[in-house]
């Protein structure tokens, strides 16, 4: 009833190829965007700096991983490594180029990560599937090792944990959680829109053709070299930008060990839980993996308080989180994005039965 496309006719090619063909979707996105922009006026600094900023940033990284894994079908385990490249590139750009605006530094660090991504994407031309995952795993370890090993990347800081520079653009220092949130939101919104358009255009069709059957795609005229490396480059670009934002807007420190293998795995889970090959799923998956343990922790501490031993509740949280992941994979293997799609289909009829 509410979500019904009946009566909405597309009368031109422009209308047919627009990004949100349904009026309800357009209204929904507009409301969401306005709400996201206005949110800092109601949310406190805990919500902004500890929940929303990391969620948006990790959604962006999951989006990058989804481009590579969900759309182009290249199983990769190096996303946290590419994040580290982005974070350190951003640090060095701001350190070594005077007065570089933060967005420019972030964009360039994305480019750095993309270049590294292309190099580590080369094996994908010869190997595929799980073997490629192992090959990209090497990138994860190599990048973190190299950043640790060569002092130049860290400006010879003895401890190896560098304080991230303030976020400065146009002579303004974006210091408060609210301002940081807006910076992150703007970057993530633009890149998500770009990803959506790439995914539904010829670029995305190339990725999906390679994913579904690379021999057939090659016969149809797609260059495997170009398509696969393009997917690696764009995916690493997203990871690099995400890494720079993660270090500068969230952690406020730059250190290699923040981008360890377990972060790579968590990003992989975000994509699988959220839904492979969906833009929406990247946001939902990142929300689930990042926020569910936090909500469980808050929930146990408020409900049981000090009545139950915190060691037991902390262990319980992990058990429950694990069970939830298994349940999701059993009941909805296509991910949270699929749940959202099913909800939309139900809404077409709701509140009527047929």
């Amino acid at each position: 009833m509410l979500y019904r496309e009946a009566g909405q006719f597309r009368t031109s090619y422009a209308q047919d190829s627009q990004i949100f063909p349904l009026r309800q979707d357009r209204i929904g996105i507009a409301i969401l965007l306005i709400a996201a922009v206005m949110l800092p006026f109601v949310a406190n600094s805990y919500w902004l700096s500890a929940i929303l900023i990391p969620w948006l940033v990790l959604s962006l990284v999951a989006l990058g991983q989804n481009i590579l894994m969900g759309y182009a079908g290249q199983l990769s385990l190096g996303s946290a490594g590419f994040m580290a490249v982005g974070a350190f590139a951003c640090y060095n750009l701001i350190l070594r180029i005077d007065g570089i605006p933060f967005v420019v530094a972030v964009a360039l660090s994305g480019v750095c990560a993309a270049l590294v991504g292309i190099v580590f994407g080369l094996p994908s031309l010869r190997i595929r599937g799980l073997y490629l995952a192992v090959a990209t795993l090497a990138s994860q370890f190599f990048i973190v090792w190299a950043l640790d090993k060569f002092g130049w990347f860290k400006n010879y800081d003895p401890a190896g944990v560098i304080t991230a520079q303030p976020i400065v653009m146009f002579g303004h220092n974006f210091a408060t959680p609210r301002e940081k949130y807006w910076v992150v939101l703007a970057i993530v919104a633009v890149l998500a829109l770009l990803a959506k358009n790439m995914a539904r255009g010829s670029v995305g069709r190339g990725w999906m053709a390679v994913r579904d059957m690379d021999v057939a795609a090659e016969v149809m005229g797609f260059s495997l070299l170009r398509t696969k490396l393009q997917a690696f480059a764009i995916s690493s670009f997203y990871c690099g930008v995400g890494g720079a934002l993660f270090a500068f807007a969230y952690l406020q420190t730059v250190e290699p060990s923040a981008f360890g293998i377990d972060l790579s795995f968590r990003i992989l889970f975000m994509v699988i839980i959220g839904g492979l090959g969906t833009i929406m799923g990247s946001f939902l998956g990142a929300g689930f993996i990042l926020l569910m343990p936090i909500f469980l922790n808050i929930f146990f501490h408020t409900v049981f308080g000090k009545a139950v031993d915190a060691t037991i509740t902390s262990a319980l949280e992990q058990v429950i989180f694990g069970v939830m992941i298994i349940m999701f994979l059993i009941f909805e293997p296509l991910g949270l994005a699929r749940l959202w799609q099913l909800t939309k289909e139900r809404l077409r009829l709701w509140p009527f039965k047929h």
Partner: protein, 449 residues
């Protein structure tokens, strides 16, 4: 109804109920009673570092409860909220933000029990007016109070600790001049914490002319065969071991035993040298040296009294009460005792006896800590913690450690509090490093006069 349907109905209902409960509980929590002092406790009770987290934060919580049961701090009751960090820097930031405000109260002190977590929040302290009380860990050059007004380290930092250990080695070898040509391996977990002592150690190696070999173990460090074979190959005379988590720490001992490296030539870091790290290695652990900033034991009057008062009333935080009096537990009690002494100072300095203090006042109280032997005796931990005095410029504790040796069952304390042979040298390194940080980050150090 099929199970599938049950799940579809029940799961949303449960989650909806859960969120309502959270919302209700958080609004209820805002109703505050006057004259309470709120503490945020970022504990790490799960994962590879859980032995550390449960002991240390258990000690802190027990001490807070103990103070409450004794009538509070001049009548001010202590309250706390816990948050699970899993010893992870990103989760520590989340916990910091979550614990920062509770109702109309603001957290005054934060203690991450971990160098990665400390580094992740250290930049937020000045703007949020929260004291970062590192207790024997964390960023070393923060001991320069001119650059880091909000960061303290009341239990000796890693540079002082490595200097004490090098001194201990030199003593065992028969003097500093005998160190020439010796080989010392710094075997460390590959994190900021593992690398933290290196700047000081490299300087000492240069000065004493011994060969320093740095070998890193990637976390979580449960596989160390190749590293120990390398140590064997290099014919190392001594190993300073900088691990984290009882899994890694006990693995080092068992692997050393396997390659035949004598445990009497291994010196463990404060955060790897506890009962939980030695016991899993069994007999192989016998002979291992450990530096301690909090001596283990239940005979200290305060620990004995906590057992009687808190555990006697069934309100102890330790799941296994036998762990009361272990290294990590006593260290937690020592850390919390410094919070409370700082709180007393803050109340006195700012004429707020019997009242809640804010972050600025608490900071002044912490900076005014003057822990003498008499004070330690009054608290009941004489011999457990080392005496020290803070000042505006000097934000580190005693820089003294006790050396202990594991005898297969418990730690034998070998020495009294030993200081670094040349504290001025370590201080010089600290001030240089802090000055570099200040210059890079456009901080004007405050003047201390």
């Amino acid at each position: 109804m099929s199970t599938d349907k049950i799940f579809r109905r029940v799961v949303p209902a449960i989650s909806a109920a859960a969120f309502i409960a959270i919302a209700a509980a958080s609004t209820a929590a805002t109703a505050q009673e006057a004259q309470e002092q709120y503490f945020g406790i970022p504990s790490s009770r799960v994962g590879p570092y859980s032995a550390m987290g449960t002991g240390y934060y258990g000690g802190i919580i027990d001490y807070l409860n103990y103070v409450n049961m004794k009538g509070g701090v001049n009548g001010v009751k202590l309250t706390y909220d816990e948050c699970e960090t899993e010893y992870n820097a990103a989760r520590t930031v989340e916990c910091y933000q979550r614990l920062l405000n509770k109702g109309d109260q603001k957290m005054v002190v934060f203690d991450t029990l971990g160098t990665p977590g400390a580094y992740a929040v250290i930049g937020r302290m000045a703007q949020d007016h929260v004291v970062l009380a590192q207790y024997g860990y964390g960023r070393t050059d923060a001991a320069d109070g001119r650059v880091w007004p909000w960061v303290f380290n009341a239990a000796g930092h890693y540079w002082g600790q490595i200097a004490v250990k090098m001194n201990f080695i030199a003593q065992k070898e028969g003097g500093v001049d005998k160190m020439k040509g010796k080989t010392v391996v710094h075997l460390h977990i590959d994190t900021a914490y593992g690398r933290e002592p290196l700047p000081a150690m490299r300087q000492i190696a240069k000065e004493w002319d011994f060969k320093l070999i740095e070998i890193a173990i990637p976390p979580p460090g449960l596989e160390q065969q190749s590293q120990w074979l390398q140590i064997r190959r290099e014919k190392a005379d001594w190993v300073t071991f900088w691990g984290a988590g009882s899994g890694m720490n006990s693995t080092a001992i068992t692997t050393a035993a396997r390659v035949g490296f004598p445990r009497e030539k291994m010196i463990y870091v404060t955060f790897g040298g506890a009962e939980e790290d030695m016991i899993p290695a069994g007999d192989a652990a016998k002979g291992t040296f450990v530096a301690a900033n909090a001596a283990p034991g239940r005979d200290y009057p305060l620990i004995a009294d906590i057992l009687k008062v808190v555990y006697g009333a069934g309100k102890g935080n330790m799941q296994n009460p036998d762990r009361v009096g272990t290294v990590y537990y006593n260290r937690g009690v020592g850390a919390a005792a410094m919070w409370i002494e700082a709180l007393k100072n803050a109340q006195r300095i700012h004429n707020k006896v019997g009242k809640t203090v804010n972050g600025d006042e608490f900071r002044d109280g912490y900076e005014a800590l003057d822990i003498t032997d008499d004070k330690l005796k009054e608290i009941g931990i004489l011999g457990m913690s080392a005496p020290f005095k803070m000042s505006c410029a000097k934000h580190d504790g005693s820089e003294r450690f006790k050396m202990m040796q594991w005898d297969g069952k418990k730690f034998q304390i070998l020495t009294d509090w030993v200081a670094a042979p040349d504290p001025a040298f370590i201080r010089k390194l600290i001030e240089e490093s802090a000055a570099k940080y200040a210059a890079e980050n456009n901080i004007t150090p405050r003047t201390c006069s």
